[in-house]
Amino acid sequence: MRPASKLKVRLVQLNPRLGDVEANVDLHMEAIKQAIADDVSLIIFPELSLTGYYLRDLAPEVAMRVEGPVMSQLARLSKEIGIVVGFVEEDEQFSFFIAQAYLEGGAVRHVHRKVYLPTYGMFDEGRYFTAGRRLRTLRSKWGPMGILICEDLWHPSAPYVLSQSGMYYLIACASSPGRGIHDQHIATAGTYANILTTYAQLFQVYVLFCNRVGYEEGVCFWGGSCVIGPQGVSVAAAPQLEPAVLDAELDVAAIRRVRLQAPLTDDENLDLTIRELERVRRERAED
């Protein structure tokens, strides 16, 4: 089936309550019901939107299974709308992951487990979570989609792999802490803008960046969610530092036009890249 070519997306720049899943589920349900009423096709929530970010020892206490009651509750609403939601996933081996689920047609269709867990500077994720081991796209009603979470975006190999799998939409979910106030824009926001614009342009996709707001442990999350078109041009942008709901209309035809102008994705020499990477790996192993 040819995917629907136009869709209305909504990015919810919310402020979850730290460690209070019940309160956060209510926030999500309310936002999803409103989006359904507003004819939104796809609603996106930030990283760890159901739990909050600085969980530390709370992580196992708020963790859930994909087949558990919270996901089932949200899945019921996904008969009418695509949903991307952030949570702590526990697997059958009692490992814990920072995860983002995609729900559509009444079921969880895909889970991305955060691959890159920052454990440096102000971050301590590797202490509490296990790193994901997969980079896969998913087939949505509106075409192929890739989901990455925050630090994943700082490793260009991650969107590269997704792009080579075939991707229209890069969903970038974050709980990005704001730091650096030497300029009128938070330094982190400037860096993100560069990275996301570059990905949109080089991989010729829509980038949907959904970042949270609010404060935890004295740290602010800066928001600034945005949608960037496949030409690398801003389609919509939410304000920084305050809760917001950002809507945008996406059109697959825009991706097609950009790729007609310059078939970068198609021209990519995957075999060459793999060969050279294997050589690098061989040489490193010999060191």
Partner: protein, 273 residues
């Protein structure tokens, strides 16, 4: 100076958001600030008034008999400009009653006692007013340990703790803190003639440049000397930072169990908020 320059609108927006969020999510609406008439506590009061509205802020002025009269005058000037309530609580009776029994106490002990007495008054008033104690310590003094443990450092939340002294001045200027407060020599006013820079032996301008490179940019001692900082100055500041590390951490706990508070029992402070 340029590396210490901050965007004041952005800083105000982040810090007032911090105050509103971290106060209201714990079920409070009000803040209380100990006002010395200096730039740090005045800025704290300005930011809190902006975050919560002037009606929700109380400035507590706590003079001792040797405090300079302009300390109180400046605090009252700032409070009047903001339209916040003030309380004046003279700490002379309790300080003098205590030291009548400790006549040999030197000026450092007396200064520390005063700082801790003010803390005790603030916490008592915060209970009575159902308000949180808003901190007034900046990053420079906290890093240098130029502060009284459990005294002027004590607070529920601190809006200034990540701003160097020179950045405090920038923000104070931006928010309209009275010029006379920004211009006067910084002083804890714990004894007559005391000034921070006289006591420290260097200026805030100088030490902030050094601390920014040392702490924020993680430059090594050798790199700092190569940049032109005097080796003795670098050594002294590093020693001060290292020597006061205990003031910036909670007390050590002797570990005997399998799960000890803050070592392997690690919950966020904003747990469930």
């Amino acid at each position: 100076m340029s590396e210490l320059k901050i965007d004041c609108a952005l800083a105000t927006s982040i810090i007032t958001g911090f105050l509103r969020n971290e106060i209201t999510k714990f079920g409070f609406e009000r803040g209380i600030v100990g006002m010395s008439g200096g730039v740090d506590s005045t800025l704290s009061a300005f930011l809190t008034a902006k975050a919560l509205g002037p009606d929700n802020v109380t400035g507590v002025i706590m003079p001792y008999k040797t405090s300079k009269p302009d300390s109180r005058e400046h605090a009252e000037l700032a409070a009047a400009q903001l339209g916040i309530r003030t309380e004046v609580i003279d700490i002379t009776p309790q300080i003098d009653a205590y030291f009548a029994r400790m006549p040999d106490a030197d000026k450092l002990r007396r200064a520390n006692k005063m700082a801790r007495e003010r803390m005790a008054v603030l916490y008592d008033r915060s209970q009575a007013l159902r308000a949180l104690v808003i901190g007034t310590s900046n990053k420079t003094e906290a890093l240098l340990g130029y502060t009284t443990l459990w005294g002027d450092m004590a607070c529920a939340i601190n809006p200034l703790g990540d701003l160097y002294k020179t950045q405090v001045r920038q923000l104070a200027r931006y928010l309209g803190v009275p010029q006379v407060i920004i211009d006067k020599p910084p002083s804890a006013d714990l004894w007559q003639g005391q000034t921070d820079e006289g006591e420290l032996g260097f200026t805030y301008e100088e030490v902030d440049k050094l601390l920014f490179r040392l702490v924020d940019e993680r430059k090594s001692r050798d790199e700092l000397i190569e940049e032109g900082f005097a080796p003795e100055f670098v050594a002294r500041v590093i020693q001060m930072v290292q020597g006061s590390q205990y003031k910036r951490r909670m007390p050590l706990i002797a570990k005997v169990s399998t799960r000890s508070i803050n070592r392997d029992f690690r919950y966020p402070r904003d747990w469930g908020r």
